[in-house]
Every structure is written in structure tokens, then in C-alpha cells.
């Protein structure tokens, strides 16, 4: 069996699946249930001066009948007394010494206050600390959370204060509501952070009730922007994680729309050592971790990995600047006539939304009763097809449309290489440069 344990900044965790700081990690009761279910770690709901919350707090978007594709919240940090939270951390650690308990912290931007909370959290037995520099709503209005995380100098400064007293590894949780998240990771690192976790939630208005005109979630008819998360944000989070992995040399705990082992593998391949989950646990409960563990084990086994750590960062070198992509790589769509069901979605997508490279013959208007339709399969105009993938993406039938490479023995040339070649051969056309004809001319 492959080894799922991870080493995160020197802290060993039974598996990479951690619960992110949020409603599921509000109490020892919940976290112990989660550990019983199989979670490897949990980031405590952010501890700080207790706040008062509103009702309601969450809003979501559905996709047709799929619920909660995206979730938005205007809930603040823990509303429980600091000492209760710390006492419960100690209880959890006592019962689950092998599991990873991370104390998420947020206090006002005063050195002494930070020193105090850090010491107390470590005394309670937290394995790691996570500084919440990401909360985009409510707390930021009070000069905390994203208000810190959006100003690199503040982030560096407060991280530095914490490092003055901390003994455990320090994670800084980053807000995605910035122009360049790698820059913020570097700022945290400059302050002494041992790791970063990302992404916190995105600024969002999740929806407006078109009957009452009130935003959702509604608090007596009013709303406020909240933090957006769930499956819908995953691609944006993946990009941000990859950007930090590429440009800032620092361990990462990945967050953003992770709901199953496949999502987790993607985050790990892009550089996350651990992954944090919140929305999926809020949607389905802690039990989802069972398949996350099982699925990851099977995946590692099938791929011949002996440890989950081997995944970390494996795809990072595959993320390149656009200018380094091969312009001579050519693929075109092929439609499997046997599999085609005749929905013509590929046709209309290509015709209206892409490059007009698919044709369908008119269906004969016969009697359609008592039998199937005569099958008319759309076909690709191969000379026109630009290999954009759109038809394959909209096709509802698995493997019906495949993208095939048509010039396998081509000479690769990227846009950057093209610029270089042009510098040497300014008289040549792009076409000539791309296909190496310039070489003959220049000599």
C-alpha cells in the first residue's frame, strides 16, 4: 500500500487531507468526529477576539439541478471565547496525538497581542499555526484578515512579529483578492513564514433575489459582499497555487473547491503538500474523506508511486509561459460516427462559437415514427479545424470526439523562438519562420 503520510514543514500528518478553517472546525466535537472519519488534520476555525455573527450567513449558486457549485459566506471568525477554543485544542491533541491540529489565528495588528495569542496556541498543543491574512469580509473592515493580506508590508511585518515568539512551523493563509498572489507569498516568506496556504475565499455577491431585490445571503433585506468558495473556484485556485509554486520557493497547503481525491491530486501535482477542504464537508459531511483516502491510495498504487509526497509539484514544470508553447503542434478533431448520437451540439458550438469547421447534412424529413432517425453524423472539415477542443468539450458522449495529432514529426517552435528567428531573418514571413524555411535563406 502506498504511504499517504506527508511531511509538512517537519510535521508528520497521517494523510494530506485537512479540513480548512471554517464552520466544520468550530469545535473539538466536530474535529474529533472528522478525525474519526479519517481526516489527517484540521485547521481550527480562526481564533481571536470572539465576534457576533448575522443570520443568515451563506448563499450559493446551483448549476441546473446540481446544488452548491459555489458557496458564499459572510460568517466571521470564531464566536467562541479564546480560552474555550484553546482548551479544546488541548483535548483534541490528547485524544489524537498523531493527527495534525493547526491553530488559525487572527487578532488586531498589535505586536503584543500577536505574541500573546501565539504563545497561548502553542501552549495548547497546536502542531502548526496558520495566520488568517485572508478573510475578505467583515474582519477586513476592522483592519484584520485580507486588510493585512492585501498589503505586502503588513503581511511581512506581522509574520515577523509572530516568528519572534513562535516555536512551531508557521503557515500564512493568503487571500486571492490581490493582483499577484506569488508576490504576497514572497512577502510572507520575507517575514519568516515556513509555508503558505491558499486560497482563502473570493470577494463575491453570490446572487440577488429577483423577486425581493435583496442580495443573498440576506440579513433583514440587506447583504454584504462575502467569501466565495466551492467547486466553482477550483480552476482559479489551481492557477494561484501553481503560480506560488513556480515563483515562491515555499511549501504550500492547497485550498479551493477540493471535494474528492482527484481534486486533491491536481492540487498536489501543482505543488501542494497538503490540501484543505471546507465546502464539500459542509455539503456532504466528514464521510467524504473515506473515498478521498481510498481513491488516492488506488491512484498512487496504479501509477506506481510509493508515497503521496512523490506527487507534490510534479506538474509544476508543465505550467509554462504562453510564449514557450509549441506553435507547430497541430491537432484536429475526429468524430467517431459509431458513437455519435446526433445532438449536433458540436456543430452549433463550432459554427457560432468557434471556427465553422463542422458540417452536417440535412436530415431527410421522413416519417420518424416507429423507429430511429436516419443517422446523420457531423463531420470535421479537417483543413479548417484549428484544434481548439470546443467540439470535444461540448460533446455529451465520452470519447466520441477525440483530438488527434496530425504532424507528429514536426519541428517545435514557440512564440519566443519565433521572435528570435525573426530577429535573425526579418525578411521572412511567420509561415516561413515556423516551418524552418528561413534557415536556408539566412545562410
Amino acid at each position: 500500500m502506498p504511504d499517504l503520510t506527508i511531511n509538512f514543514c517537519g510535521v508528520r500528518s497521517p494523510n494530506p487531507f485537512w479540513l480548512a478553517s471554517g464552520p466544520p472546525t468550530n469545535s473539538a466535537y466536530q474535529i474529533m468526529r472528522a478525525f474519526d472519519a479519517g481526516w489527517g488534520g484540521a485547521v481550527w476555525k480562526t481564533i481571536g477576539e470572539p465576534i457576533i455573527n448575522t443570520a443568515s450567513r451563506y448563499g450559493s449558486i446551483d448549476l441546473k439541478n446540481e446544488r452548491m457549485m459555489g458557496l458564499n459566506n459572510i460568517e466571521l471568525i470564531s464566536d467562541r471565547p479564546v480560552e474555550d477554543n484553546l482548551r479544546e485544542i488541548a483535548e483534541v491533541k490528547k485524544r489524537f496525538p498523531q493527527h495534525t491540529v493547526i491553530a488559525s489565528l487572527m487578532v488586531e495588528s498589535k505586536r503584543a497581542t500577536w505574541h500573546d495569542i501565539v504563545r497561548r496556541a502553542e501552549d495548547a498543543g497546536a502542531d502548526l499555526l496558520e495566520l488568517n491574512f485572508g478573510c475578505p469580509h467583515g474582519m477586513s473592515e476592522r483592519g484584520m484578515g485580507a486588510a493585512v493580506g492585501q498589503v505586502p508590508e503588513y503581511a511581512t511585518m506581522i509574520t515577523g512579529w509572530v516568528k519572534e515568539v513562535s516555536r512551531t512551523p508557521l503557515i500564512v493563509k493568503l487571500t486571492p483578492n490581490v493582483t499577484d498572489i506569488a508576490h504576497m507569498a514572497a512577502a510572507a516568506k520575507a517575514g519568516g513564514a515556513d509555508a503558505v496556504s491558499l486560497v482563502n475565499t473570493f470577494n463575491s455577491i453570490v446572487s440577488i433575489d429577483i423577486d425581493t431585490y435583496a442580495p443573498r445571503p440576506s440579513v433583514a433585506g440587506l447583504g454584504s459582499h462575502g467569501g466565495y468558495c466551492g467547486p466553482a473556484v477550483k480552476p482559479i485556485a489551481l492557477h494561484m497555487v501553481s503560480s506560488v509554486a513556480k515563483h515562491a520557493d515555499i511549501p504550500i497547503s492547497g485550498i479551493g473547491g477540493i471535494g474528492n481525491w482527484r481534486d486533491a491530486v491536481e492540487f498536489m501535482l501543482l505543488g501542494s503538500t497538503s490540501v484543505q477542504v471546507c465546502t464539500a464537508a459542509m455539503h456532504y459531511g466528514f464521510r467524504i474523506v473515506r473515498d478521498m483516502i481510498d481513491g488516492l491510495e488506488n491512484y498512487l498504487d496504479e501509477k506506481g508511486f510509493s508515497s503521496a509526497m512523490e506527487l507534490v509539484g510534479k506538474s509544476v514544470p508543465r505550467i509554462e509561459d504562453w510564449g514557450n508553447l509549441d506553435l507547430n503542434y497541430k491537432i484536429i478533431a475526429r468524430i467517431d460516427a459509431q458513437k455519435c448520437i446526433g445532438c449536433n451540439l458540436c456543430y452549433i458550438a463550432c459554427e457560432d462559437g468557434a471556427h465553422q469547421c463542422i458540417r452536417v447534412e440535412e436530415r431527410p424529413q421522413g416519417d420518424l415514427r416507429h423507429g430511429g432517425l436516419p443517422k446523420h453524423v457531423p463531420h470535421i472539415l479537417e483543413d479548417e479545424c484549428v484544434g481548439c477542443n470546443l467540439c470535444a468539450l461540448v460533446c455529451p458522449v465520452p470519447d466520441c470526439i477525440s483530438m488527434v495529432e496530425i504532424n507528429k514529426d514536426h519541428q517545435p517552435m514557440s512564440w519566443k523562438q519565433l521572435q528570435e528567428a525573426r530577429g535573425k531573418n526579418p525578411q521572412c514571413s511567420n509561415e516561413e519562420l515556423l516551418h524552418g524555411k528561413a534557415a536556408g535563406r539566412s545562410t
Partner: protein
């Protein structure tokens, strides 16, 4: 009065037996089912619908919560979309054409989604359409079935004055009288008819053309006439004993289940139904549901030749009907003693496959010496309907083929240019949706013809 009636079931039980076979979808079910629609481009379901309802569009409107728009999409193409949602043989039309079938998946339940969209609009009497500006033309329509209702609604939208004449006490035609109660109730049809009427269509019920109003009067008072009279009585068996009490025709039996309280409909303990079309299925299922203990469906040919749709056949199977294949009725047996004059049994003879006919269909010929009896107290004839020859021949210059009116398939115009026709009297017996399509097409045909007359008039005037 039947001599050996089935034991009476309590009305509550009867209502349950005839409950909606395809109950309406809830909002959540409609969203889930509608979400399965791929929103095909140039969708085959649209082409498979005789009225060309834009199915993917109306389903999308359901999903986005635009129910009123969805109903409008449906009713614009098919004014009787409520009936059709219930009675269409969707498995051989839209749902049969659904591309999901090709992937081995269940097709989208288009019929039920259509019902989900249309029912609330019909029930609330929401006015989705307005009559057109009056254009001065008057059109008479004979028969108040689906073809005429569809034609009249379409004409009203274009400003024609329309009057429907119908000999029945209630409008709706076979929708009202001839559809199994578990598919559609008379009150559903009444609401639908009301919607058509609210467009300004005048319906004169209980008026028979040729009696109360003459054909000549129609020709005098109206610019064009649409014939949507459907078919006539059930075909006769032409065997001895056909006149015995307890031997009756399918349509009047179905009509009773539609117009009376279920506990007022008489059914025998044992019933034989002759025929294997969709109407025969309606009868056998109705008989079982009314409490008949043994119901036989007697058919001269084999299951292969049966004209009933597969899903109808399934209904009969579920109702535990006994199928008597390859049996030809030879005599309805008279009772003796106090049952004299009443059906006692149905005598049949086995058939075997004979030579194929010109259409390639096997003939079935009786096998002498294989006679047998089914002891039944009721025999129902479901052999298809007769043509209304007498009536049709009273209209001048109609061309008939095989008892059906010959029309131009584009305009539904008959050989007599002032008459148009559609529905069963043209196709010899089709679906409600075919009749609706005919009616719509005929309305456009009438409009085209009368407009070109108007055009000519205008041209003449301008020359003067």
C-alpha cells in the same frame, strides 16, 4: 342491464383505479428531468412532433423558471398542448427521437415536462394569445374535436370569425369522449376547450350539419368551411348474435367512463374485447379497472400484427388481461332461460397464417374444427371506426379515397376549394397531435386562399 355484472367496487377504489397514469411532475422533478435535456441543435424531437413544438427551447424555459414562456412556446405550436402532453404516443414521437436513446439512456420525459409547463396556464386560464384584428372573413368548422379546435384557434389569431358546429352535447370530440380516463379526464379537456373559446371561437354544441343547419346555409353564410368530423361508429362484427344485450361498441363504452361516475358504468364479470388497437387496450384496461374479473382481448392475428403501441400493450399486461391471439369470433352466443337475449359467450375459431396480402401482411385464416367458447357476459367491439360516408357524400364535390377525404397535404384544401379538412376524416384515424397539425395547416391554407382572393379584389379595385 347486464345479467352477470362484476361485483361493484366502492367509488373510492374506482377513482384510485382510474387515477392519473402519469402524475404531474413536481418542480424539483421537472428541474431534474429537464436538466437531462442536451439542448440539441436542430433537435430530432422537434422534427418527430407533427406540430413541430420547439422542445429543447421549452425545456430550457422550464429550467430557467420561465414557465409562462415555456407554455407559450408549446401552445403557439400546438394549441392543444395540454391534451397532447397526456395522450401523445411520445415513445414513438418526440421521446422516441430523443438522442439519449442512441446512447442507451432513458429519453427525456418530454410529455411530462410539457404537461408541467402547460397545466398551470390552462388551469389558471392565463390568456397567452390574443385574437387578431377582425378581417371580415367567416369560417365554419364542422366537428369540435382537436382538428377543428386547432384550426379555429389559429384562424382567430389571424382575425377570422369562427363558428364550430358539433352534434355532441360537449365539445372536444374524442378528447372528451374517447380517451381512457386514466390518461385524461373530461374536465381537463373542458379547460382546454375554454382556452380556445376565450380566443373568441364560437362553439355551437348539439347542432348537426345537414339537420339543424344545412350545407347550403353554411356555404351561404361562411367564406370557407373546415371539416373535422372524425370517424363514425365502431365497425360491425358481422356475425350472429351481434345484437344481443351486452354486446356493444368500444367508443360508447369509453364514453360512459368519461361522462358518468365510475360506479354508474356497468361491466360484466367476464368480458371479451375484440380487436388489438389502442382503443381495444383502452377498453380492456377500463373493464379491469371497473372490476371485471376476467377480461379477454381477442385478436384474429398475432401480437406482431397488433396495431396497439408497445406501451399500451404493457398497460394491458399490467392489468392482467388475457390475450387470445389468432382467434376469430364467429358467433355471440345467446343465453337461455332468464339470460335469453343476453350475451352468454363468445364463440371463436383458431386462425393460422395464410398467404401474404399485397402489403406484405400475413393473412389469417380460420382452422375448421378448432372452435372454442369464452364464457362472457359482455362483448365489446373495438375493430376501428366506420367512415362517415353518408355525411361526406352530402358535401358537393368532395373526393374520397377509401372513405377518407382527399386533401392537398400542404393546405388541407379538398377538391371543393371552399372546403378544407383535417383529422381522422382525412387520415382514417390518427393521433390527437396529427389532428392538431392538420387543423393548424388548414388554417394557414384557408388564410392563404382567402388572402389571395382579397389580394385579387384589391388588385381589381386599384385597376378601376
Amino acid at each position: 342491464m347486464l345479467k352477470e355484472p362484476a361485483p361493484k367496487l366502492p367509488l373510492e377504489q374506482l377513482e384510485k383505479n382510474f387515477a392519473d397514469i402519469n402524475p404531474p411532475l413536481t418542480a424539483a422533478q421537472a428541474l431534474e428531468e429537464g436538466s437531462r435535456c442536451l439542448f440539441c441543435h436542430d433537435a430530432p424531437c422537434i422534427k418527430a412532433c407533427p406540430t413541430g413544438i420547439d422542445v429543447p427551447h421549452f425545456i430550457r424555459q422550464i429550467i430557467t423558471g420561465n414557465l409562462r414562456g415555456s407554455a407559450r412556446t408549446i401552445l403557439e405550436a400546438n394549441i392543444l398542448g395540454q391534451s397532447c402532453a397526456r395522450v401523445c404516443p411520445t415513445s414513438v414521437l418526440c421521446e422516441g427521437a430523443c438522442v439519449l436513446n442512441a446512447e442507451g439512456k432513458k429519453p427525456v420525459e418530454i410529455g411530462r415536462l410539457q404537461r408541467y409547463a402547460v397545466d398551470p396556464v390552462i388551469a389558471r386560464g392565463t390568456q397567452l394569445f390574443k385574437p387578431g384584428t377582425p378581417n371580415g372573413y367567416r369560417v365554419a368548422l364542422i366537428g369540435a374535436g382537436p382538428a377543428s379546435l386547432s384550426c379555429a384557434a389559429e384562424l382567430r389569431k389571424r382575425g377570422y370569425q369562427t363558428v364550430i358546429f358539433d352534434s355532441n352535447p360537449q365539445p372536444g370530440g374524442l378528447n372528451t369522449y374517447g380517451i381512457a380516463a386514466y390518461k385524461m379526464r373530461a374536465r381537463d379537456v373542458a379547460m382546454e376547450v375554454e382556452m380556445v373559446r376565450s380566443l373568441g371561437v364560437e362553439i355551437r354544441s348539439g347542432v348537426t350539419i345537414g339537420k339543424a343547419v344545412s350545407v347550403a346555409e353554411l356555404e351561404r353564410d361562411y367564406d370557407a368551411t373546415f371539416i373535422g368530423v372524425g370517424l363514425g361508429e365502431t365497425e360491425d362484427l358481422r356475425i350472429p348474435g351481434e345484437d344481443l344485450a351486452g354486446c356493444r361498441d368500444a367508443l360508447s363504452f369509453i364514453e360512459e367512463t368519461k361522462s358518468k361516475s365510475f360506479d354508474q358504468v356497468q361491466v360484466a364479470k367476464r368480458v371479451a374485447v375484440i380487436g388489438a388497437g389502442n382503443t381495444a387496450i383502452d377498453v380492456v384496461t377500463a373493464a379491469r379497472r371497473l372490476g371485471a374479473e376476467e377480461v379477454y382481448m381477442v385478436y384474429r392475428r398475432s401480437p406482431e400484427e397488433m396495431s396497439a403501441f408497445d406501451y399500451e400493450y404493457e398497460l394491458a399486461k399490467k392489468d392482467t388481461v388475457a390475450f387470445v391471439w389468432q382467434a376469430q369470433p364467429v358467433r355471440v352466443v345467446d343465453g337461455s332461460g332468464d339470460r335469453a337475449g343476453h350475451v352468454q359467450a363468445l364463440e371463436c375459431v383458431r386462425t393460422q397464417r395464410g398467404p401474404k396480402d399485397t402489403r406484405g401482411r400475413s393473412s389469417f385464416v380460420p382452422v375448421p374444427g378448432t372452435e372454442f367458447r369464452l364464457d362472457v357476459g359482455m362483448v365489446v367491439k373495438a375493430l376501428g371506426q366506420k367512415r362517415k360516408l353518408e355525411f361526406l357524400q352530402a358535401i358537393p364535390n368532395l373526393e374520397l379515397a377509401n372513405g377518407c377525404i382527399v386533401v392537398d397535404p400542404q393546405t388541407m384544401q379538398t377538391r371543393n376549394p371552399r372546403y378544407f379538412a383535417g383529422g381522422d376524416c382525412v387520415n382514417g384515424g390518427g393521433e390527437v397531435v396529427d389532428a392538431v397539425a392538420h387543423g393548424k395547416k388548414a388554417a394557414l391554407g384557408i388564410h392563404h386562399v382567402l388572402e389571395s382572393v382579397a389580394g385579387r379584389k384589391a388588385a381589381t379595385t386599384s385597376q378601376v
